[in-house]
Symmetry: C2
Subunit: 160 residues, 2 copies
Amino acid sequence: MQSPFPPLFIFLLITAPAQADTTNGVVVTKSASQQVSIGSPETFTGEVHVTSRFQRAAPARIGGGDVTFDAKARTAWHTHPLGQTLIVTEGEGWVQHWGGKAQAIKPGDVVWIPPNVKHWHGATSHSRMRHIAISESLNGKSVEWLEHVTDDQYPADTSN
Amino acid sequence: MQSPFPPLFIFLLITAPAQADTTNGVVVTKSASQQVSIGSPETFTGEVHVTSRFQRAAPARIGGGDVTFDAKARTAWHTHPLGQTLIVTEGEGWVQHWGGKAQAIKPGDVVWIPPNVKHWHGATSHSRMRHIAISESLNGKSVEWLEHVTDDQYPADTSN
């Protein structure tokens, strides 16, 4: 499927620059001023859009964004050195760790992926899925990307 | 206004126990299994409900939740040792740091409150406001609560 976004906006999620903390006051980044990025085909399968991206500078270390997966879209297998929290806000999706069964996720569900657990998350085959994703960086790195989730690994439906 | 929740569910946000990280796999906390808590009158003004609360154990240090403020409801003044990020998901609200002007916030806006900046956030006088709030704990503490936001300090409307 042709992406609605020009190549300029295609970049890896892990390359989000740390936001310089040059203010002593509250910073509001308005929705209209935010760039929409799409998940790189190197680390995602299918159409994935990210808004509300943020990355805080030391001494803080959190970063994240609001991620929407079209039906069938998903991350590649990956790990986070300090874990990741997902808050599902729309649709129906899956999360699965290596060697485990895919678990269905829906709005309001909160997901904890412990440090260094190989996993993937994404939409079901018939519904988009949207979640807020937050992770902490360790030595400037918050994710290690691995191989793609193959069509054989991807669940056929939500009947679990 | 009478709270729809019994006193059992009234507790300070800062007393959320760290979630023991006793698993090597993904943990999904289903929406239906989550307790709804309300903001304590010691640290909030008005009706504030919190769902999807989480607190990760070391080596992770993030915690947060999905917070809904009824119209006119707001936090007390407070600070976070490692800052706080808000992602607004519904309604219209305010965020303000001490000595600064109240800034209007709407869905999709992302707010950064730097470490140790005295501030408050909440709904406008005519609309509820909902946001995801995430902060990092330092030595087990993620917030220091201060005095309430008085009616004189609270903005009269959203005309800014």
